[in-house]
């Protein structure tokens, strides 16, 4: 009985993964170069953002959060901008890399992955 049910659940699971594929790869700017499909890109905002997210689009540069050889990628974003978006913050956006190197996002896909959300950014010591 239980074995049967487990088998049933597994079958449903396989069915789902075969129909819908599975999720979006999460990559950092340095891993982006070889990508063609949709990915979610996590990085730190560097430099001042320009443009208008509710107009032609907001442009900003994302850099690797970790690692010795940090790479950068320019992102074009439209839609809601979370309150916590700012230079120096870590964000995740979903989209695809265009041949030009520009990362064009799915509108409204930005979430901030903010280290200082609950915790002070650096210890004031």
């Amino acid at each position: 009985m239980i074995a049967l049910s487990v088998a049933g659940v597994l079958a449903i699971f396989l069915l789902y993964t075969s129909i819908a594929g599975g999720g979006t790869p999460s990559v950092s700017p340095s891993e982006l170069a070889t990508r063609t499909g949709e990915v979610s890109l996590a990085g730190r905002v560097v430099g001042a953002p320009t443009g208008d997210a509710h107009g032609a689009g907001l442009r900003f540069v994302l850099e690797d959060i970790e690692g010795a050889h940090k790479k950068r990628v320019t992102v074009l974003y439209k839609g809601s901008v979370p309150d916590l978006f700012r230079t120096g913050r870590d964000v995740v956006v979903t989209g695809t890399r265009r041949p030009s190197g520009l990362f064009v996002t799915t509108p409204g896909s930005m979430i901030t992955k903010c280290p200082s959300k609950y915790q002070a950014a650096e210890n004031p010591s």
Partner: protein, 668 residues
């Protein structure tokens, strides 16, 4: 002050070690006095933790910025209630809250069970001691809330999105839930350790499990309401890892609450129950780990910190210990009672359990998938909303249906004909509702339509149960309807409280389906005087106001709201600019229609220099039923929890006999 806090935590550490080591020794060797002193150590651990907690609270209230934790999470201008709630605004304080709740639960549970389940408590004490030791160690050695610094002039302030009444209550309830699951776990492990594998540990912890489960449920609803009002993206649940972290153990605990009834009634599913309770507890540890370690990227996640590996180690110890104990006692746990029929109450409970666990594990799998795929394929893959929605429908909708059928099926063996008779009325009402909804145009969303039809089925099944019960009682006693109804519920609190909780789940399902399957949204940039139409409403942007609040500058765009020809007044949405924290937060405008449960939800996405505002407007039908469900849920839980003198007497005599048996020298 910091020294006092640190000292109190060291005392807690010592007491936990004592409860673990001396308690374990006492239980193993059967030394009653030592067991007594170990138990008292556990009680004392609560008070020493309370001292540490009070020191931290005092630090916040007195703006003692020489405490690094206070300086990092508070500021002088912060209103008092948020100074207190800043206690759990960060990692160290949250861990301290965890420990405080744990030692509190442990002390109370052990104290209340000291007479009725004495031989069990002896073994439960060291288990609690071990769990407390794990957390105290983190607080003493890895992540102390009592680090001192040269006091800065003012603190960093509390994150604006946490300056909300819901964020005062939400974490507390969540922790009461998470940590409360430690009680049934500790008693289950105590039962396994002692070799007494009957249902006594379940009876001794029934109410604790219910308290924890209720608190976890309320905590999640408060969190959802907070997200809805404060985070302001127009939703209440985003399948974020940290939200899932609370949902996963809640689902496991829900399965456990149901399956223990079969063990109490029929003595079946013993292995399953200890497995479930271990799963629920380990998942609640895993949930804490997820939120504290920063291992999964989430909008909520805390800083990546040193406690990650420690915590993971702690979880591994718990999992290995629980697995080993179940394995070791497997021969004693086997039961002879067999499932007699696939159409019976037991079987319905079993299906319910399988669906709940399947849902729980698929959500867990999705949440952990970024880590798993990172380890296996070398690249982290995130599964999104479609994954979760798919499984919520696949497992959630049958679960909803089963919630209606289950209570109508007889124990042991039910005939299909009898079942058909029992569900005839509810099924008829459900089909009629479905047809009516299709006529009204609800067929635009098939899952939504199914959810509503099933909801109608469950609700009418519950009503039928109440009506039948009341009628039967009246026929027997000749009482008036209100008396018969009151006594019916009063004498079967567990059962009818459970039905009320079921009704709450139905309300939740209706609210979720309504607001996600039948909502409408519009977005537009409006200059003053311009209008936007959405879902039957027309909004006209009137003016922009600005005023200084206690710690923030509040900018609001005011809109006139009209529906049809009716003037519904104004709604305001805008942003708060917090000066100390240097952050801006969205303040959404919500207009709830209490009659239809519909919300008009306005976000001011962007305020431009020329005074134009980019608005995003949602119309969410029935969303208020979700919050109503919360109230009904609490009501149902309270009915099921309420002390029952008759039940107490029955249990007292039952265990008095059991104790006599156990205290006569064992001859076997």
């Amino acid at each position: 002050m910091a020294e006092l806090g640190r000292a109190a935590l060291l005392v807690t550490l010592g007491l936990s070690v004592y409860a673990l080591v001396a308690g374990g020794l006492a239980a193993w060797r059967g030394k009653r006095r030592l067991a007594h002193s170990a138990r008292n150590a556990l009680l004392a651990a609560f008070f020493s933790t309370l001292v540490a907690a009070l020191v931290l609270v005092a630090g916040f209230v007195r703006d003692d910025f020489s405490l690094a934790y206070v300086a990092g999470h508070s500021s002088e201008a912060l209103p008092l209630q948020y100074k207190v709630s800043a206690f759990w605004g960060g990692q160290e304080g949250s861990l301290l809250l965890w420990l405080l709740v744990l030692t509190g639960y442990a002390a109370l549970a052990v104290w209340f069970a000291r007479k009725r389940a004495r031989d069990l408590v002896v073994w439960v004490t060291p288990v609690f001691g071990g769990i407390a030791l794990g957390f105290t160690w983190l607080l003493v050695a890895v992540s102390s809330p009592f680090e001192t610094i040269a006091a800065p002039a003012d603190g960093n302030g509390l994150n604006p999105s946490l300056q909300n009444p819901y964020m005062v209550a939400h974490p507390v309830f969540l922790y009461l839930g998470y940590v409360g699951l430690a009680v049934p776990f500790a008693f289950a492990m105590g039962a396994l350790l002692s070799g007494r594998t009957d249902e006594r540990w379940i009876v001794a912890t029934r109410r604790w499990t219910l308290v924890a489960w209720t608190a976890l449920g309320i905590g999640q609803l408060l969190g959802a309401h907070w997200a809805y009002e404060e985070v302001g993206w127009g939703g209440y649940y985003a399948w974020d890892p940290v939200e899932n972290a609370a949902l996963i153990p809640w689902l496991a605990a829900t399965a456990f609450l149901h399956s223990v009834m079969i063990q109490e009634k029929r003595g079946m599913l013993r292995v399953w129950n200890v497995t479930l309770v271990s799963l629920a507890f380990c998942l609640s540890l895993f949930g804490t780990f997820l939120t504290r370690s920063g291992v999964v990227s989430s909008i909520h996640s805390f800083t990546q910190s040193a406690i990650g590996p420690w915590f993971l180690g702690f979880i591994v110890v718990a999992v290995v210990f629980a697995t080993a104990m179940i394995w070791l006692r497997l021969p004693q746990l086997r039961t002879t009672a067999k499932l007699e029929s696939l159409v019976s109450r037991e079987a319905a409970f079993l299906y319910n359990n399988l669906l709940l666990v399947a849902l729980c594990l698929t959500i867990l799998w999705g949440t952990a998938w970024p880590m798993v795929s990172e380890a296996v394929r070398g690249e982290s893959v995130v599964v999104g909303r479609p994954y979760y929605d798919f499984f919520l429908r696949i497992f959630g909708l049958p679960l909803l249906l089963l919630m209606g059928i289950g209570p109508l099926v007889a124990w042991r063996r039910a005939s299909l004909a009898g079942l058909a008779r029992a569900i005839a009325w509810p099924a008829g009402i459900a089909l009629a509702t479905g047809a009516l909804l299709v006529a009204l145009g609800a067929g635009s969303s098939i899952p939504g339509l199914i959810a509503y039809t099933f909801s109608a089925f469950v609700l009418s099944a519950i009503v039928v149960e109440f009506v039948r019960g009341t009628a039967a009682r009246r026929a027997l006693t000749g009482e008036s309807i209100p008396t018969a109804f009151g006594r019916l519920v009063g004498r079967n609190r567990r059962r009818y409280g459970g039905y009320v909780v079921h009704a709450a789940v139905v309300l939740l399902a209706i609210g979720v389906a309504g607001s996600s399957a039948y909502d409408s949204v519009a977005e537009g940039r409006l200059a003053r005087g311009e209008s936007l139409a959405v879902g039957g409403y027309t909004l006209t942007y009137r003016e922009l106001t600005e005023r200084d609040g206690p710690n923030a500058t509040e900018i609001r765009a005011v809109l006139d709201v009209r529906r049809g020809g009716d003037d519904l007044g104004t709604i305001a949405a805008g942003k708060n600019a917090y000066s100390v924290e240097q952050q801006v937060s969205n303040e959404v405008g919500i207009r709830s229609d209490l009659l239809t449960g519909e919300d008009l939800f306005v976000i001011a996405e962007q305020v431009r220099d020329d005074g134009a505002v980019v608005f995003r407007v949602f119309v969410k039908p029935l969303v208020n039923l979700i919050w109503l469900a919360g109230i009904v849920f609490v009501l149902g839980s309270l009915i099921a929890l309420w002390p029952d003198a008759r039940e107490e007497r029955r249990l007292a005599t039952r265990y008095a006999r059991a104790d006599e048996r156990s205290e006569t020298p064992a001859t076997t």
